[in-house]
């Protein structure tokens, strides 16, 4: 600045107001920020896994069948669609449809989690643990369980959130925006799975 007063201040402060620069309301902003942070968390895990896999002389490829993971992927992707329909219905004011779709989504999450746990148990049955597995490089079990475990934790959290928000939405305590925010999180969990499947499962497929 040089001397005070280069321009005469426009007195009508309305010209410059405190409008959110992104026009994204606080709750939605918060979930997006959380998603960004969570993306960094998952990326750190995946980078660590890639780092170690890339640096290992051999890496086990124990997965024979893709049936289970195809099923899981299909269910999770579909649950994203049902979520979307739920939010859309909520925005259009159709409360009961919104609630129904939300519960269907949560059910998809539950099925996904159950399939996932079944798969885990099968692998544990084959002798795979965090620090040991029958196929060699021990880090395989550690990275598999920690990455899919983190994802499973997110799914579980998502199911709980869907149920809680869904029920409160129905009872009128929460509104369509809250449902939308929960939906964003659910889509993100889905999005992470799109990276987990190829890197953790498909790259380790037996040939």
């Amino acid at each position: 600045m040089s001397q005070p007063g280069l321009t005469l201040e426009a007195h009508v402060a309305g010209l410059i107001t405190g409008i959110p620069p992104f026009s994204v309301p606080a709750k939605k902003m918060a979930i997006w920020l959380f998603i960004i942070a969570d993306a960094a968390t998952f990326a750190a895990c995946l980078v660590a896994y890639g780092f170690l896999r890339n640096g290992s002389a051999s890496w086990p490829r124990p997965f024979h069948s893709i049936t289970n993971v195809v099923l899981m992927t299909f269910i999770l992707l579909t649950s994203s669609l049902t979520m979307l329909l739920g939010v859309r219905a909520a925005k259009a004011g159709d409360k009961s449809a919104a609630f129904r779709w939300t519960m269907i989504t949560a059910a998809g999450g539950v099925i996904f989690a159950l399939l996932h746990i079944r798969e885990w148990l099968a692998l544990i049955g084959e002798g795979m643990t965090l620090f040991h597995n029958p196929w060699g490089t021990e880090l395989f079990g550690a990275s598999f369980f920690s990455i899919t475990g983190l994802h499973l934790l997110h799914v579980t959290g998502g199911v709980v959130a869907l149920l809680a928000v869904g029920i409160r939405y129905k009872s009128g305590r929460y509104n369509a925006d809250d449902l939308e925010v929960t939906g964003l999180y659910w889509h993100f969990v889905d999005l992470v799975w799109m990276f987990v499947v190829p890197f953790v499962y498909l790259l380790n497929l037996a040939h």
Binding site: F51, S56, I66, S80, R88, D177, D190, M194, P198
Partner: protein
């Protein structure tokens, strides 16, 4: 004075797209997901397979981000913030890969092996 511009506070993403659009996107994602499984059964080396899968996964994620999560319908500023910021941070995380390569081959400046054997 009157209240701040209420309209400006309203989200840009309004979830009024026709259901058909969602279903098309959903199908696209399903196809891409299937593509990954197909790639898994091609006979290329791990690096190439990884690159292809990453590419497909990014496309899938892009669709989900833009249309399922409605980023495309938000203000461009917000889209840029999310994509550029996240992308930058995730890229900055990739500095370490050369050290991963060295885990097997040792340091690039050490030619003779020191003779450590793995039993």
């Amino acid at each position: 004075m009157d209240t701040p511009d209420v309209k400006a506070n309203e989200p840009a993403a309004r979830y009024t797209d026709p259901i058909g659009k969602y279903i098309v996107i959903y199908l696209c994602i399903l196809v891409l997901a299937a593509l990954q499984f197909v790639i898994a059964y091609t006979h290329v080396d791990t690096t190439a397979m990884f690159a292809r899968m990453l590419f497909v996964a990014l496309a899938e994620a892009g669709l989900a981000l833009m249309f399922f999560m409605h980023l495309w319908a938000e203000k461009r500023g917000f889209l840029l913030f999310v994509v550029v910021f996240t992308g930058f941070v995730l890229l900055a995380m990739q500095y370490g890969w050369t050290d991963s390569n060295r885990m097997e081959v040792g340091a690039p400046y050490s030619q003779p092996k020191t003779g450590v054997v793995t039993q």
